[in-house]
Structure formats: structure tokens, C-alpha cells
């Protein structure tokens, strides 16, 4: 380990300065969204980089306007996005960890077939199934925000089961045997013994799937009944689709509203998020 009071060299200070400048490239685009969300429509068009002045400054008017405009309340989209993400990820975490444990512990034809199908599904791009998936979902009434989590479970199962399996296979079976000897049935063994040990993988899978579902555009766009339900990405694309006819300032306010919660969550759990990404990459 390095000594605590070691001094930073000149080179390292220069590197910090360089990276501080480089960081601006990452910060400025987000800053421009904030900037324009406070300006009135004409001024966004005129020069998006100009700071608000007395004439162009709108205060929070864009935010108030943005909540209802485009004939669809933003809060409704936000609620559907939130519900779909939470329900889908909860389903995926619970049911895929259960399946992965079954596959790891039971060597039957069924579990082998399922395992190879999961591996196979990981190399299939969404475009291959998207049209047919939307037909199937329509037919089975999976086209509402309350039932679409089943579609997410189905399409996300491959990667999740694969990641859980990688971890479960390294777990010593002795602990579960001890539980069995002590009279635990499979259900209790899983929930009281196995699941707590899976915590690191639950976090990794949870983070990867949350990032996927929350930001996903195409699946809900094709599957949901669009006349009734929108999610945040669909809402944003819908506004962009009517480019020129919509209020750009208010659109920027909506984008801001959709980014703020993510950034807050990120700042609080960035350690887990970064670890989850690194773990997912190594295994996936």
C-alpha cells in the first residue's frame, strides 16, 4: 500500500489539470440541457449555447409547461417507466436466480436444454424477435405496463441466468447439504441459505437490468399499446418526432426531469454500479 502522506508529483498535478479540462467535454452537453431548459423556445433555436438573459429567461415556466405538453402528461410516462423497471427487475432477480439454482443443482434434460437455450438467446439481437414479439405480446395481453414485465423477464432471462449460474457454480454445495440434513426443504434452503449468498450477483444483475429496462426504447414502443401508454424514452422520442412544432425549451425541461433522478441514484450507488458493470463485462 502507498504511504498516506506521499506528495503528488508535478506530472500527476498536470494530469489532474488535463483531466479536469477533458471532463468539460462530458459535462458541457448536460449543462446545455440545463441552460436551454430555462430559455424560451425562440432563443433555443437562435443560439443554444447562449446563456439565458433578461429577455430569454423563463424561470421554471418550461418545467411547468413540460409536465403537460404534447397532449400526454409527463408524470404518467414517468410512472409507467418506474413501475415497469421496478417490477421487471424484481421479477428477473427473483425468478432467474431460482431457475439458475435449479439448473446448477439438478442435472436433468430439461435443465440442460434450458441452459443451452439461455446461452443461445444471448447472441440473438432484439431485432430478430421484435416484430414477432409484439404480435405475441398483443395476443397474450402483455401490452400494458402492468403485464410487460413478463416480456422483460422472458427476454432478459438468458443473460441473468447465465450470470447467476457463474456464481452459484462456485458456491460450496456442503452448506446446502447441511441445510438439507437439518430438515430444510428446497424452498427454505433457497430463500434462507442460497439467496443471501447471492447478494453480490443480485446487485450486478439488478444494476445491468435496471439500466437496460429504464432506458429501453424499442421493446416498450413495439409492445405497449401506444395510444394509452408511454415511457420516458418513448415520450422524448415522441416530442422529437414533432420537431419544429414543439417547444424546445419545454422539451429540454422534460429531458432534465428525466435525467435528474438517474444522476441522483448514480451518485448514491456509483460504487455498486461500477462494480456491477465490471462484473457483468467479465462474465458476459
Amino acid at each position: 500500500m502507498k504511504k498516506a502522506k506521499e506528495k503528488y508529483s508535478l506530472g500527476s498535478t498536470l494530469l489532474t489539470v488535463f483531466f479536469a479540462a477533458l471532463s468539460l467535454v462530458w459535462v458541457v452537453p448536460i449543462f446545455e440541457v440545463v441552460n436551454n431548459s430555462f430559455k424560451s423556445n425562440n432563443y433555443v433555436n437562435l443560439d443554444p449555447f447562449a446563456l439565458p438573459n433578461a429577455e430569454s429567461f423563463m424561470g421554471f415556466d418550461n418545467y411547468i409547461k413540460g409536465m403537460t405538453f404534447g397532449n400526454y402528461p409527463f408524470l404518467k410516462s414517468a410512472w409507467y417507466s418506474l413501475f415497469i423497471t421496478v417490477a421487471s427487475v424484481a421479477l428477473i432477480l427473483l425468478l432467474c436466480s431460482m431457475s439458475a439454482w435449479y439448473i446448477a443443482r439438478v442435472k436433468s434434460l430439461g435443465s440442460k436444454v434450458f441452459y443451452y437455450l439461455c446461452l443461445f438467446s444471448m447472441i440473438v439481437p432484439f431485432q430478430m424477435v421484435m416484430f414477432t414479439l409484439s404480435f405475441t405480446a398483443d395476443k397474450l395481453n402483455l401490452n400494458t405496463p402492468y403485464s410487460i414485465p413478463i416480456v422483460y423477464l422472458g427476454f432478459g432471462a438468458g443473460l441473468s441466468i447465465f450470470m447467476f449460474l457463474g456464481f452459484i457454480r462456485d458456491l460450496p454445495i456442503d452448506i446446502e447439504e447441511a441445510a438439507a440434513i437439518d430438515g430444510c426443504g428446497p424452498v427454505r434452503t433457497f430463500f434462507l441459505v442460497v439467496l443471501p449468498m447471492l447478494k453480490p450477483t443480485l446487485i450486478s444483475v439488478g444494476i445491468l437490468q435496471t439500466m437496460w429496462v429504464w432506458n429501453d426504447y424499442l421493446l416498450p414502443y413495439l409492445v405497449l399499446d401506444r395510444t394509452q401508454y408511454m415511457t420516458i424514452p418513448i415520450h422524448v422520442q415522441y416530442l422529437k418526432g414533432s420537431y419544429g412544432t414543439v417547444d424546445l425549451g419545454a422539451t429540454m425541461a422534460i429531458i432534465m426531469l428525466s435525467i435528474i433522478p438517474i444522476i441522483i441514484v448514480y451518485l448514491f450507488c456509483q460504487k455498486h454500479i461500477i462494480k456491477g458493470v465490471a462484473a457483468g463485462a467479465v462474465k458476459g
Partner: protein, 295 residues
């Protein structure tokens, strides 16, 4: 596979009775969300259809149409070029940023946080933000993003690099941190300078991370959709022999826009999707082969 054999039937036998609980729900959802749409997708790629009910068998005529489709060829060319350019830019940048950030340096955690941030924002929103920025810059030269296919292409490269450099950086940082400390010390004792250490000690130890990131950027580029749609939507387009070619379209967007031309193109779009699947699958299998070899 042998090592995964459980030694205890004590655990496995009772679970078998609970397959309806542990396996069945996920398996049913998996069939709905993947297996059935996949099989139906293969079947419909040989059909003319509006919905699966009115599908009529067409043989390979959809595939013949795909190979004569100038828009698809253009999208393929775009995708290949886009993949090569973004693999090089993203990996070089991410590698050296990760290298610098694992040195002793003030603020390195803050920089990591900042560079990774775009990955939390959806591609559609990012596309919207960057189209505003590019249009704002190009307006100063009296032009706009979708005026010229070159702007659109490089705009997408910038957007995606901006987003994914942070993601790959995280993986490279983990790679740098797993280089054995004693090897680095031995290099210092042997009098290796910084570059010698980097290329002769660190890089050989990081071939795993490099392979993972290269293939991740490759498959990401091939599957790129949201950013492409939100940034240019394929514009501008030209007419060639009576067919419309969207100049900045990548493969995934081309499949989608083909489907939306009209119902006579549904089968063609599905055939494109099958070809696209084969392409992506082959890339993934090569990846498996290469990374296995690395191990």
C-alpha cells in the same frame, strides 16, 4: 461441464419436485419472450405477411430482395465502417484514460464518475441532446446535422464514443488493477521505463480486458439503434433506381424502417432481421473462440 455435477443428491433430489416453482415460471416467460418469437421470426422471413395470421409462403424471395436492396447494402457498409472507427477510438481512449486514472492522481474517482455518467442516460435522450449541440455548432456555419451524411456519420461516432468510453474505461480499470503487483515491481527492479512496463508487462496481462472491450464495442456498434434513430433517423436520403436510401442508417435502423414502409415489406424486414442475427451471432462466436484462447 463435468465440474458442475453436484456431488450431493441430497440437495438435488428434493429440488426436482419443485421444478414447477423454480424452473417453470421463467421458462414460460422465456418461451413467450424469446423461443416462440424467434421460431416464428424464422418462419415469417419466408413469408409475405401483415400479421402472422395472413402469412403466405414465399420461399426465398424475401432474401433475394434483401440482397438486391441498395439501402441494406449502404446500411451494412455504414455499420462496418462505424464499427471499425468506434472500436479504434473508444478502445484507445478508454485504455489510456483508464491507465492514467489508475496512476496516483488527485480527483481520479471524480473523473471516473463523470466519464461513466452518459451510460445511465438512454440512447434516445442522448441522441436528442447531441442533435441540439451539433445543430447549434453547425448553425454557425449556416448548415445543419442532417444536411450531409458525413456530418451524421461522424456525429454518431462522437456521440457513441462520448457514451462508451466511460463504460470501457471501467472494464480497463478493473484490468489494470488485476495486473500482479510483483510483476510491476520486478519490472521496476529490472530497470524498465514506463513505456516498457506498459507494453511488455501490463498489456500482455490485459489481453483479456482488451478482448472483452473490443468485442463489446463491436457488438454494440452492430446493434446500435436508439442513438442512430434519435440523432439523424437515417437522414439525409437519396433516391437511387426508384428506391429510397437513408444515408446515415445502420443495419438495426434499416430493418426497422423497412418494416415501416408498408405491409408488403414486413417479410423483407424479417428476412433482414434473420441475416442480421446470423451476422451478430457469428461475431459473438468468434469472440467466444478468441477469449477462450486467451485463457
Amino acid at each position: 461441464m463435468k465440474r458442475t455435477q453436484p456431488k450431493g443428491t441430497l440437495v438435488s433430489r428434493p429440488i426436482r419436485k419443485f421444478s414447477w416453482l423454480f424452473l417453470l415460471p421463467t421458462f414460460l416467460a422465456f418461451c413467450i419472450g424469446f423461443v416462440w418469437p424467434f421460431m416464428q421470426g424464422i418462419y415469417l422471413s419466408f413469408c409475405n405477411f401483415n400479421t402472422p395470421k395472413d402469412a403466405t409462403w414465399m420461399g426465398i424471395s424475401n432474401y433475394v430482395k434483401v440482397f438486391n436492396d441498395a439501402g441494406f447494402r449502404n446500411a451494412f457498409k455504414n455499420t462496418a465502417l462505424f464499427a471499425v472507427v468506434s472500436i479504434v477510438i473508444i478502445n484507445l481512449a478508454a485504455f489510456f484514460i483508464a491507465y492514467a486514472l489508475t496512476q496516483k492522481m488527485r480527483g481520479s474517482n471524480i473523473f471516473r464518475t463523470v466519464f461513466f455518467m452518459p451510460n445511465l442516460i438512454g440512447g434516445v435522450v442522448l441522441g436528442y441532446i447531441w442533435s441540439m449541440i451539433f445543430d447549434g455548432i453547425l448553425a454557425k456555419y449556416n448548415t445543419y446535422l442532417t444536411a450531409n451524411a458525413t456530418y451524421g456519420f461522424w456525429g454518431l461516432v462522437i456521440l457513441v464514443a462520448w457514451q462508451q468510453i466511460g463504460y470501457m474505461m471501467i472494464i480497463y480499470v478493473a484490468g489494470f488493477q488485476s495486473v500482479p503487483e510483483d510483476m510491476l515491481e520486478a519490472a521496476v527492479i529490472d530497470g524498465a521505463n514506463r513505456w516498457q512496463t506498459l507494453f511488455q508487462v501490463i498489456v500482455p496481462n490485459m489481453m483479456g480486458s482488451i478482448a472483452v472491450c473490443t468485442f463489446l464495442t463491436l457488438t454494440n456498434s452492430f446493434k446500435m439503434f436508439d442513438q442512430n434513430m434519435a440523432l439523424t433517423g437515417g437522414a439525409p436520403s437519396v433516391m437511387a433506381n426508384g428506391a429510397k436510401i437513408n444515408m446515415t442508417e445502420l443495419l438495426a435502423l434499416n430493418i426497422y424502417s423497412t418494416y415501416n414502409i408498408n405491409k408488403n415489406y414486413h417479410g423483407v424486414a424479417q428476412a433482414k432481421a434473420v441475416i442480421f442475427f446470423i451476422l451478430v451471432a457469428v461475431l459473438a462466436l468468434i469472440q467466444q473462440y478468441v477469449t477462450r484462447k486467451e485463457d
